[in-house]
């Protein structure tokens, strides 16, 4: 019998013991999941390993399992809670026994109804009312408008600067890089305070442009970092080849550089987009109710009345994040393919 098999047997005995002492299926299942997952991932160690080595390895994997559970639980927990039929953050009896009456879509409906003048209307009136007045719909429109504008600005300017920064001849590289990355390092509350004063003075506070400029600033470091990283693996002789063949600067950029750094640009743009989409501190300082974004709406929701509508919106946003993550992963694979590096 191998040492690993001994482990399986001990675990099986323990599980039975847990079931006998608690006589609860859910506790046993929880035990099985938490303590069984690391065991499942255990592999045979080198032949000279002792029982203690095996046990240590198991403990290590167990620890990692706990940390991963810690990381992901809050994300998973909001999904079922957003279908709660009651206006609370707790799992009701009915939810635990999978009573269908305990679940509902009311908080998803509330995303549309909250703020509407007449949610009972029908047809075109309902649609225009929803589009104009529903608070969450309005903040979603604002969030997208602001995030898209900020992303375009940050990506455009950021890519240009990254092109300069990655040139061998670039003077004061360290100083300029530090400068351009500083919005990420300076605590948000300070940035927001400074912008609040300045933007108020020049009449930019409480305007869409003000919020867009603020979010552009916050997104720039991400674009710089990702695009410079892509450019560092870039074969510069390709540019000289293009120039030799008679291409002017713009053509070289469009036909040679751009396709190669596009994945970096897009992933930088995604970072910038999410930064803006998730940002609340600058919005709190600079924006007016008219520019209210989703996070700002969530913020007042959490402060003023705790309703599961926030969780419903959050669930939608988590799904959005998963889609974006998928896009990022696909892009990463594409970059690797383009560079001719295959995953090990």
């Amino acid at each position: 019998m191998t040492k690993l098999q001994t482990g399986y047997i001990i675990f099986a005995v323990l599980t039975v013991l847990v079931f006998i002492t608690t006589s609860s299926v859910s506790v046993t299942l929880g035990f099985l999941f938490l303590f069984g997952t690391p065991l499942f991932f255990m592999k045979a160690l080198p032949a000279y390993s002792t029982h203690l080595n095996y046990f240590n390895k198991y403990l290590f994997l167990l620890l990692c399992t706990f940390i991963f559970v810690f990381l992901i639980t809050p994300i998973l927990i909001i999904m079922p809670l957003s279908f709660n039929a009651e206006p609370y953050f707790t799992f009701t009896e009915g939810m635990l026994t999978f009573d269908s009456a305990a679940y509902s879509f009311r908080w998803y409906q509330d995303i549309f109804f909250n703020g509407m003048i007449d949610p009972a209307a029908t047809g075109a009136a309902w649609w225009s009312d929803m589009w104009e007045n529903a608070q969450w719909v309005r903040s979603t429109r604002n969030s997208f408008f602001i995030a898209i504008c900020a992303t375009l600005l940050a990506t455009g300017l950021g890519t240009l600067a990254a092109l300069g920064l990655s040139r061998a001849e670039m003077p004061y590289r360290a100083a300029i890089t530090s400068l351009l990355i500083s919005p990420m390092i300076v605590p948000l509350v300070i940035t927001a305070t400074g912008m609040f004063f300045f933007y108020s003075d020049v009449g930019l506070a409480k305007t869409y442009l003000g919020v867009i400029l603020a979010h552009t600033t916050l997104g720039i470091p991400f674009v710089i970092i990702t695009v410079t990283a892509t450019l560092s693996g870039f074969d510069r002789s390709l540019i000289r080849a293009a120039e030799n063949l008679g291409a002017d600067g713009w053509t070289t950029f469009r036909k040679v550089i751009m396709p190669l750094i596009l994945p970096g640009m897009i992933s930088g743009a995604l970072f910038a987009f999410i930064t803006s989409f998730d940002e609340v501190v600058a919005v709190l300082f600079i924006a007016d109710v008219e520019q209210r974004t989703i996070p700002r709406q969530m913020f007042s929701g959490i402060r003023e009345q705790i309703s599961p509508t926030i969780l419903a919106v959050a669930t939608v946003m988590v799904i959005l994040s998963i889609i974006l993550l998928g896009v990022l992963e696909l892009l990463r694979r594409r970059t690797e393919r383009l560079r001719g590096v295959t995953p090990a």
């Binding site: 994997l61 990692c64 940390i67 990381l71 992901i72 809050p74 994300i75 927990i77 909001i78 953050f89 707790t90 799992f91 300017l157 950021g158 240009l160 600067a161 300069g164 040139r167 001849e169 670039m170 003077p171 360290a174 400068l179 351009l180 990355i181 500083s182 390092i185 605590p187 509350v189 300070i190 940035t191 305070t193 400074g194 004063f197 300045f198 400029l213 600033t217 970092i225 410079t228 970072f271 998730d278 501190v281 709190l284 300082f285 996070p295 969530m298 913020f299 959490i302 402060r303 705790i306 926030i310 969780l311 959050a314 946003m317 988590v318 994040s321 998963i322 992963e329 995953p343 090990a344």
Partner: protein, 425 residues
């Protein structure tokens, strides 16, 4: 470097007769300019939208021209006053007239109310003295003005008040930095420590630093094993597990904070589970939120990915053969870890720790939502002064001090790790 004037006819020249060396220098210079030009739009943008506002905020923390705006003539006259007894009659006449003009014009930012607020910072309780006196001063048309003022309110017969007014007419004042460091002017105008009961900022700076350090340390403890695991697993598995790290990283901070409220509150999930297993009774539900525990748990969760990502990217580059070599030379696992592996991860640790620490210092939304009375950190106080008490200069002074701390850390980070090494996933 050789001086270009020493070129001799034998040096290589280009087709147009310019020495090659000179041409080279020229073209390098052009290339440098071109590179610089590419970054120029963004540099200007960041300077205008970011650096300049912050500089302006620094200025606001020492510059407050309320008093000289409201009382322009008095400001000039009071400088002559020797600070003994009351100012002379002519000066007080100017004071009364300036007050009357300010009340008449009600110009935004230059009203008696603004002045009253400014002086009230230094002498609490003097606000209503200014506003109510200004209403009554409207009827005073002739001297002696000192007498008229004292008739309106006896409190004007106080040299401390006039000394404070004189100080306030100076547009540049260290007062707000003093307040941010729990200092104040005493009655004689010397700088002393504020009353213990009103001291809040210095201890709060330390509290914020302590809390940030605790959070950073816990993040490091949790991130190390996970990053190690991720870096040793085959790419396919580690990419899958990486999603567990990146998903929370990309999920809205407010959403995660809300989730923690749902998990930790008295009627929340953890307490429900504890009651369900029978570890605690229905009455013994544990208070895990609206206190420091709640802050730490939620903040660690929010910042953990910022520690895992840099650690992971460093650990990925350490060949596993190093540890095997150490073991084969007889080192115990722990010794091999301490002497070989750990030192190699130091750049990652430095990057992660400083990033997490700086971010932790600046967060204020999460502590405000889940921290209860322990959630009052220096960033909250800054936000409080900007948005609620409207003492913008004090908010700016606190912000500048916080910025100084962060810049020192940033400088250290740059020194140890190099800012170019920063990368994500």
């Amino acid at each position: 470097m050789q001086d270009s004037s020493t070129t001799t006819p034998e040096t290589l020249v280009t087709a147009d007769g310019v020495p090659l060396k000179q041409k080279l220098i020229q073209s390098t210079r052009r290339a440098r300019w071109r590179a610089l030009l590419l970054t120029l739009p963004l540099v200007i943008f960041v300077l205008v939208s970011f650096i300049f506002p912050i500089g302006q905020m620094l200025l606001r923390s020492v510059n407050n021209d309320t008093a000289s705006n409201v009382l322009p003539n008095f400001t000039i006259a009071i400088q002559e006053w020797d600070e003994q007894g009351l100012p002379p009659e002519e000066t007080i006449e100017l004071f009364v007239k300036d007050m009357q003009v300010a009340r008449e014009k009600r110009e935004i930012g230059k009203t008696v109310g603004n002045l009253a607020t400014r002086i009230n910072y230094e002498i609490p309780g003097s606000r209503s003295l200014f506003t109510s006196s200004s209403r009554k001063l409207a009827k005073v048309t002739e001297g002696p003005y000192t007498e008229a003022l004292l008739d309106i309110n006896k409190k004007w017969d106080n040299p401390v008040l006039w000394r404070s007014l004189k100080r306030a007419t100076n547009d540049y004042t260290p007062y707000f930095y003093m307040a941010a460091l729990d200092l104040k002017y005493d009655d004689e105008g010397n700088i002393t420590e504020a009353d213990e009961l009103y001291q809040i900022y210095v201890s709060n700076f330390f509290k914020t630093l302590r809390l940030s350090a605790t959070i950073t340390f816990i993040c490091l403890l949790l991130a190390f094993p996970v990053s190690y695991l991720l870096s040793t697993l085959p790419l396919k598995t580690s990419n899958l597990l990486m999603i567990l790290v990146l998903l929370p990283f990309w999920t809205s901070l407010l959403v995660r904070t809300t989730a923690w409220i749902a998990i930790l509150q008295t009627e929340g999930i953890i307490n429900d589970i504890l009651v369900f297993i029978g570890l605690v009774g229905e009455d013994g539900r544990v208070q895990m939120i609206y206190n420091q525990t709640g802050t730490i748990i939620a903040m660690v969760h929010i910042l953990l990915p910022f520690m895992i990502l840099p650690l992971f990217s460093v650990m990925k580059t350490i060949p596993p053969s190093y540890m095997r070599a150490a073991s084969s030379m007889g080192a115990k696992t722990f010794t091999a870890f301490r002497r070989v592996y750990f030192p190699l991860t130091l750049p990652g640790i430095a990057a992660g720790t400083l990033l997490v620490f700086i971010l932790a210092i600046g967060y204020y939304i999460t502590p405000a939502l889940v921290g209860g009375e322990d959630g009052l950190l220096i960033s909250n106080l800054i936000a409080y002064h900007i948005q609620k008490s409207l003492n913008w200069s004090l908010g700016a002074a606190l912000g500048s001090l916080l910025l100084a701390i962060v810049l020192i850390l940033y400088w250290l980070y740059n020194k140890i790790v190099g800012i170019e090494k920063l990368s994500f996933g």
